[in-house]
Amino acid sequence: MSLIIGLLVILIIAVLMVIFSTRLLMSAISLAVTSIIVTLLMFRLNSPLAAVFELSICAGLITVIFITTISFVKPVAEEELLITWKRRLKKYIALPVILIVVGLVISFLLKPMVLALPPVLQETNVAYTLWNIRQVDIIGQAIILLVGVFGIVVLFREGQNK
């Protein structure tokens, strides 16, 4: 149990690093670290297949997409970074305080509460669930995939024309 608490604390620290970092590249890398910690938590929660997807796609592919996008944008000068850092600190200084207060309040509220979810024991095979029980989701996913591909093609074709 202490391992889970430790991982969750590191998760919040990684998220705060995403938020507070002045360099976009550091934020993107911190997001990858966040994904890795979420992966470890998923393994602990008996979801290895989803964890592998999270690790390969969220920590890998999405980080690459973010870094590619950042490489298109003009980098900020060193003097500007210091000013931006001070401005960001002023803007986000309330966030850790809010998180600590809300976290403590929720923890105290949850303590006396009886948390009970009904046990739903169904199919245990992920592949069977995905392909046989959630077929509609697969169709929706395929449509979104096509829309995404067309969207990217249209976006970059317009860019080339101009």
């Binding site: 149990m1 997409i65 009970a116 979810l117 995404g148 976006l155």
Partner: protein, 106 residues
């Protein structure tokens, strides 16, 4: 639900809510479009963790995992299309500031 599952639920819920708050705060406070996308990613992580947690405590990890996999794949496309839009905005306006696209038509 076993005592261990109740304990896990009690540990995870505050942290998931904190992740959500951090993500929403980040989106509301920043004007950089890339950072807004990072905020959306943080919120997605919280939702993903909540789905997996629900699957674990109800002893239905297969369904939770299949939903999580679908969510991750859709997330990639959302990020890819949003990144494409951000690059186009940068090419047009020369910055990734959300204030620059306030006076769009429509």
């Amino acid at each position: 639900m076993s005592a261990e599952n109740a304990e896990i639920l009690r540990i995870f819920i505050p942290f998931i809510i904190l992740l959500l708050i951090a993500g929403f705060y980040f989106i509301l406070a920043t004007r950089n479009l890339i950072r807004i996308l990072l905020g959306v990613e943080i919120i997605t992580k919280a939702a993903l963790l909540a789905i997996i947690l629900a699957g674990y405590v109800t002893n239905n990890t297969a369904l939770a995992q299949s939903l999580a996999i679908i969510m991750i794949i859709i997330e990639v496309f959302v990020v890819a299309v949003a990144a494409g839009i951000i690059i186009q905005i940068y090419k047009k306006t020369g910055s990734v500031d959300a204030r620059n696209i306030r006076n769009l038509r429509g």
